[in-house]
Symmetry: C2
Subunit: 333 residues, 2 copies
């Protein structure tokens, strides 16, 4: 069974998930290609995946062919709902059972399309599906955080080519979120303002790092990005929780996300990328201090190991350069 | 000129270093191979690198052929000694000039050898060279931290094949070190004991995560590792500062480091890896709470982007399994 373990020095929780590959021969070699041929996410192969959780259009059976979007449990879950969540001490160490949920959102039936090649409607429906899954999972008060992300392309960690996102419901709050909350709370205590709202106001005034805007959303390259062409998409209004947002806002976010991903695709010649949705923890009052957003991280550099090991980043591309390139690139209509 | 910029939300400093590649076409494609043919680190090419800083054996000229170990400035430095270190506010953002130093330690003249294939004497001399460079650089009180690391293999971020380590002297303390110090201080305030010493005591009592020991050093797979086969090498005595250690201890650390790297090499079939030296910040009193050590991180999984973006790790290999495999693997005599 998977376990959550906490590093006693830096208080970082890690999932130890033996169900996935773990012996020396199980790791893919750097040159090993993704599995080709059979795709369990393609229409017609519904019986080859675990039982469906959600499907669109609304009146379709959860395991029927003909879906336009499909949510299923991950066949190789990092955490499972059967897992124990008792906290256990092992001397100075802390662990808990691998309680959680791990789902896959297949955003489109066409194996050939990347998310940015699907319609704005598909992307808006994907955001709606994320919302539905969060609203359903948060009924279980044992979950503390729901992490939604997308690995696109082998180098970004995707093991299946067919476009999909992942959702992991966690009994702990990931360190990244704790750090953001701590920083946002410091700012709130000092100024009684949301730090993300302040950042958006300053970026709009300056303009050099803004990629694009629509009525309610803004895409910008952050001031101190870890990665070249790292781009954040944020609502211009204040809202802590992604799942409390509206269909109209999801549609606007989808428009901007599609356009940003297309611009990155053209500017960087179809790079691998990761998307991470940042939203408030499920329990506790973070409504004043937190601000949901999407972080887009193209995977261009290979310094992963060192930077992963140190939390210290060297980024060769100033965000003003990234933003300028993304603003000026021409994408096909 | 490079700049250091601070993320206002999570207080993370990032180096923005335009001198290195930064435009879209400048990033290597995932399949692009390392440069082959001419190697600036090979004997005979001393004039093709910046002027040497240190060389062994001791009586050799800094730019002469015949060296067994050589330290040079990085030709493409992430930070430079000419950089400004004034802190400047840009509205709510903070930056400072890219003041620092970036050096390369070429551990051996033979282009074909990996560090673990060189002798224990070479590795001990390498540790001695690190010490000399830290002692020299710390005379400049503007430096706050000296980060020493090694990227081995393309997938781990190495751009040149010839074995080498890197040293970056920084005007700030990297986030990873701040987090370790905070955790170690909490433990000290509670127990008046070093958290690393406590961890070593518990691991020696348990044994399941210990890879090997010699008189004064221990190699172990930590309780909550981020990566499969992550292995730490620590002195069993308490010492905060790497640079305050002795030649005898460097020799013992070298023996263990060589053996651990050889075991990883055999068990995982010559994987890419990163080494990161963790030592106390240069200024301030961390002598009671901190404990220098080396972290070895084989690069086996590709989940870099997501995990880099979230600080949240899924590790498919329990450290007890890693340690067991590393203990039992046979390496050639």
């Amino acid at each position: 069974m998977p376990e959550l373990r906490k590093d006693p020095i830096v208080d970082r929780w890690v999932i130890i998930s033996e169900e996935r590959a773990h012996r020396p021969g199980d790791f893919p070699s750097p040159t090993q290609k993704q599995q080709v041929g059979f795709c369990p996410f393609c229409p017609g192969n519904e019986s080859k995946t675990p039982e469906g959780i959600l499907a669109l259009p609304e009146n379709i059976g959860l395991n029927d062919r003909g879906w336009t979007l499909r949510v299923i449990p991950n066949k190789y879950p990092a955490l499972t709902i059967e897992g124990d969540r008792d906290r256990i001490g092992e001397g100075m160490f802390d662990k808990m059972g691998g309680f959680g949920a791990h789902e896959v959102i297949i955003e489109h039936p066409d194996h050939q399309l990347s998310l940015e090649e699907t319609s704005e409607g598909t992307i808006a429906e994907t955001l709606w599906a994320f919302q539905q899954r969060i609203l359903d999972l948060k009924k279980d008060s044992r979950f503390r955080y729901i992490l939604i992300f997308k690995n696109h392309g082998e180098a970004a960690g995707a093991t299946l080519e067919h476009t999909h996102s992942q959702l992991i419901a966690l009994p702990i709050i990931p360190e990244m979120v704790i750090e953001e909350i701590q920083g946002a709370r410091r700012h709130w205590e000092y100024k009684e303002r949301c730090i993300f709202c302040d950042m958006i106001a300053q970026e709009r005034g300056n303009g050099s790092r803004v990629v694009m805007e629509n009525q309610d959303f803004i895409a910008l390259c952050p001031y101190a990005p870890r990665f070249p062409f790292e781009t954040w998409i944020l609502p211009k209004y204040h809202l802590a929780r992604f799942e409390n947002d509206t269909p109209d806002h999801y549609a606007q976010a989808a428009t901007l996300l599609k356009e940003v991903l297309l611009r990155i695709r053209v500017a960087l010649k179809i790079p691998p990328y990761n998307l991470v949705f940042h939203t408030s923890p499920l329990n506790g009052d973070y409504d004043s201090i937190y601000h949901w957003h999407i972080e887009v991280m193209p995977k261009l550099t290979k310094m992963a190991g060192f930077e992963q090991g140190t939390g210290f980043y060297i980024n060769p591309t100033p965000p003003e350069v990234s933003a300028d390139i993304l603003r000026s690139v021409r994408i096909q209509p």
